[in-house]
């Protein structure tokens, strides 16, 4: 049996643990949990995994205690790690059959017309639950705020909903949307952000009406500041920004530098508040990134700025597995946006304490190098040789170009060549690419024995 959850309540989520505790009491075993992502708030899954209540997981994020327990091989079946677009695809093409979808919603009317807006726990949008509501056999909306009918506009339509359950609280608002994500003051991150914006400016795609997405990492977010300067300089505006929406994006939107915002996830209070405004649109995970539908917005992206735990000399990126072999990340929309965008920029420090980010081989592949164009580090910028157009465009600029091999050599020079992590034969997780192919397998690290 497969049950599903979304992660719009983020670290403040009460829904997953609440539902799992009841299932635990009922003694139901052998469940597969299909979550759009899992994090700190879902640690109750750990005892459920250990006693066989949960034997399978499909998720984007796999980190903290859940990452550890899965890395140790305690989950009966290998976890399947899917990107946001990949999950939407898997639900729509029947790879995942959801028996019961549990959908936490900020507000709902008695028929289950549910929304991420309003109530005690405002999440802004409910993008990741869209496919769950439409394709699951049974749909349960869980809310702490019943409102008068009709609760329109509804993210989840009552026609798809079987049950509405009223609870005291679906989450801790303080942890659902963080306060303002402060822009970094770290000089190193700011310097990298400046280079990212410079690459965008010189790429040939920086034109009026352009589109972009940035992640929530320090350098990615700070790019928006420099982007604004370049937009002013070139006297152009951004047509739309998409993503995990954050305050810096909202600020650009409010100031008129970004015409429209496409929101599949509101990261902070400013994004949640903005989600109520005209021009800020909620899109479903499928609209966002599903490779097999006919209108995913990732395919219209000019730029995406993403992070990396590791990058290898073939430009493959790992954002899932730590360099010690333990699961500690999430593909999110990484492989989806990388595949869709005209220019995919990865920004990461060359070395994290003593671990080289750029290396011969990533520990596991999340996003294939063929969809990655530029690596921006604090030591220089490498362009994928497949992108001769970008190399030509950057030729007479101050962008500090290096080859990816030069970056690797620098990383090894300063941090040393990392010894390979040793793994057992047991496969603990499969990394599924957005189209459903298995792009890598993750084994149990020997040091966890």
């Amino acid at each position: 049996m497969t049950i599903s959850f979304h992660h719009h309540l983020r670290d403040g989520d009460y829904v997953v643990n609440m539902v799992m505790k009841e299932i635990h009491k009922l003694g139901i075993k052998d469940l597969t949990v299909c979550a759009s992502s899992l994090g700190k708030a879902h640690d109750y899954l750990v005892p459920c995994i250990e006693d066989g209540t949960v034997t399978g997981i499909s998720t984007s994020g796999i980190r903290d205690e859940i990452g550890e327990v899965v890395s140790k091989g305690k989950l009966k079946h290998p976890a399947v790690i899917r990107s946001h677009g990949g999950r939407a695809r898997a639900i729509e093409d029947g790879t995942i059959k959801i028996d019961v979808a549990f959908i936490g919603a900020s507000t709902s009317d008695v028929y289950g017309n549910a929304s991420g807006k309003g109530g005690k726990s405002d999440t802004g949008v409910l993008s990741y639950a869209d496919g769950d509501a439409k394709y699951a056999n049974r749909v349960v909306v869980i809310t702490d705020t019943i409102v008068a009918s009709p609760n329109f506009p509804a993210s989840i339509e009552g026609v798809d909903v079987d049950y509405v359950v009223k609870v005291d609280s679906i989450g801790d608002p303080a942890k659902i949307a963080t306060g303002a994500l402060r822009l970094t003051k770290d000089t190193r991150e700011l310097n990298m952000a400046r280079e990212v914006a410079k690459c965008m400016y010189h790429s040939g795609y920086f034109k009026d009406g352009f589109s972009f997405q940035t992640g929530a990492g320090g350098s990615s977010l700070a790019t928006t500041v420099f982007l604004k300067d370049y937009m002013q300089q070139a006297d152009i505006k951004c047509g739309w920004a998409m993503g995990g929406v954050t305050e810096p994006i909202v600020d650009l939107f409010k100031a008129g530098f970004v015409n429209k915002v496409l929101d599949d996830q509101s990261f902070d209070l400013a994004a949640v508040a903005s989600a109520h405004q005209p021009g800020h649109f909620e899109i479903s995970a499928s609209q966002y990134a599903n490779p097999f539908n006919k209108g995913a917005f990732v395919n219209q992206l000019n730029f995406v700025i993403l992070g990396a735990l590791e990058v290898d000399t073939d430009f493959n990126v790992n954002v899932v597995q730590g360099s010690n072999g333990v699961l500690r990340g999430a593909p999110g929309g990484h492989p989806d946006t990388a595949a869709g965008a005209d220019v995919t920029i990865i920004v990461a420090p060359l070395i994290r304490s003593r671990m080289p980010t750029v290396r011969d081989r990533v520990t596991s592949i999340t996003t294939p190098g063929e969809s990655v164009d530029i690596i921006v580090t604090d030591y220089g910028v490498a362009v994928n040789p497949n992108r001769q157009d970008l190399l030509a465009a950057f030729k007479d600029t101050t962008i500090p170009l290096k080859t990816i091999e030069e970056l690797r050599d620098l990383a090894y020079q300063y941090a040393g060549k990392p010894a390979p992590v040793e793994f057992d034969d047991q496969v603990v997780a499969l990394v599924e690419y957005r189209d459903g192919t298995i792009i890598d397998t993750i084994r149990k690290p020997k040091h966890l024995n």
Binding site: K185, T187, N191, I351, D378, Y414
Partner: protein
């Protein structure tokens, strides 16, 4: 003066005790770093900082960033080993703190020469700069600046200076005006560079920019920095603006034209210009070239 073509808008102090800092501070693109063995290093960590200094100098490619070492004061029992480690590692220069007389510079220069001989480095190659931190140091600025051929520059260090002057630090820097002026005159007369003191309120960018503009207009060559985020701001203020570069180009072009035409008086951008402006225009273009923002041929 120790002649090099190195641009020195920013010199950032790095606590040599901190491995994470010294292992790759060049990523912030300062013109110079100053590995500090003096005030930033705890008394009990002097040895380990010195070892770290040597290893950093030997093993880390600082990618063209000039590497200076602030040694402990001449009257300490640490300076001999500090200089030996710095010279053995191949530092480009030694910064002598609390300098008050030419004799102190000469004494340190002798120690450097001995270390250069000991470690088979070309004698005389290691540059020096002196920090003036007292009224006596300011009074002797010219003698200090000319005390050795190794001297690259003199720097004001305001903390001790204000204390010994019984002055108070002010936002406007009124209390430093005399010292700044006097040391600048001495530096120019001696043909060495002049560097301004650190700005400690690292979160106050607007105040920092005001001070940078002041010292740039006074004629200082660069600024001592204590936080990486001050580097970019310092460079932005010290770099000639696009308008300044353009004007300098016009001056150089007009001078060339007038030479060809045999005319002595020039008008550039609507203003009369005489030959004294040429040096300033040349300096502007050289600085712009060194900063990587001028690629023209008029330098």
């Amino acid at each position: 003066m120790a002649v090099t073509n190195h641009i020195r808008r920013s010199m950032i102090f790095l606590n040599t005790q901190r491995a994470a800092l010294v292992k790759e501070a060049f990523v912030y693109h300062p013109d110079c770093v100053i590995f500090d063995l003096e005030d930033a290093v705890a008394e009990g960590e002097k040895d380990s900082a010195r070892i770290q200094l040597y290893q950093t100098l030997k093993n880390v490619d600082y990618q063209g960033v000039e590497r200076w070492v602030r040694v402990n004061a001449l009257d300490s029992d640490l300076i001999n080993e500090d200089i030996r480690a710095a010279v053995a590692g191949g530092a480009e220069g030694i910064r002598l703190p609390k300098t008050e007389t030419a004799a102190e510079v000469q004494a340190a220069a002798d120690k450097i020469a001995a270390a250069e001989t000991e470690f088979n480095r070309p004698v005389g190659k290691t540059m020096m700069m002196a920090a003036l931190e007292s009224p006596l140091g300011i009074m002797n600025a010219y003698e200090i600046a000319t005390a050795s051929d190794r001297m690259m520059g003199i720097a004001l260090s305001a903390g001790d200076y204000t204390r010994t002057m019984h002055a108070k630090r002010t936002v406007a820097g009124t209390e430093l005006f005399g010292a700044r002026s006097q040391m600048l005159i001495a530096a120019r007369a001696a043909g060495v560079m002049a560097f301004a003191t650190v700005y400690t309120d690292t979160d106050n960018e607007a105040g920092f920019v005001d001070e940078l503009r002041l010292i740039k207009d006074m004629g200082f060559d660069g600024k001592s920095c204590i936080n990486p985020k001050q580097i970019g701001v310092t460079h932005a203020v010290f770099n000639p603006s696009a308008a300044e570069i353009k004007h300098a180009e016009h001056v150089m072009q007009a001078v060339a034209d007038s030479k060809a035409n045999g005319v002595g008086v020039l008008t550039v951008d609507g203003k009369m210009v005489d030959i004294a402006w040429v040096e300033g225009a040349q300096r502007t273009l050289k600085l712009a070239q060194a900063a990587g923002i001028y690629k023209g041929a008029l330098v």
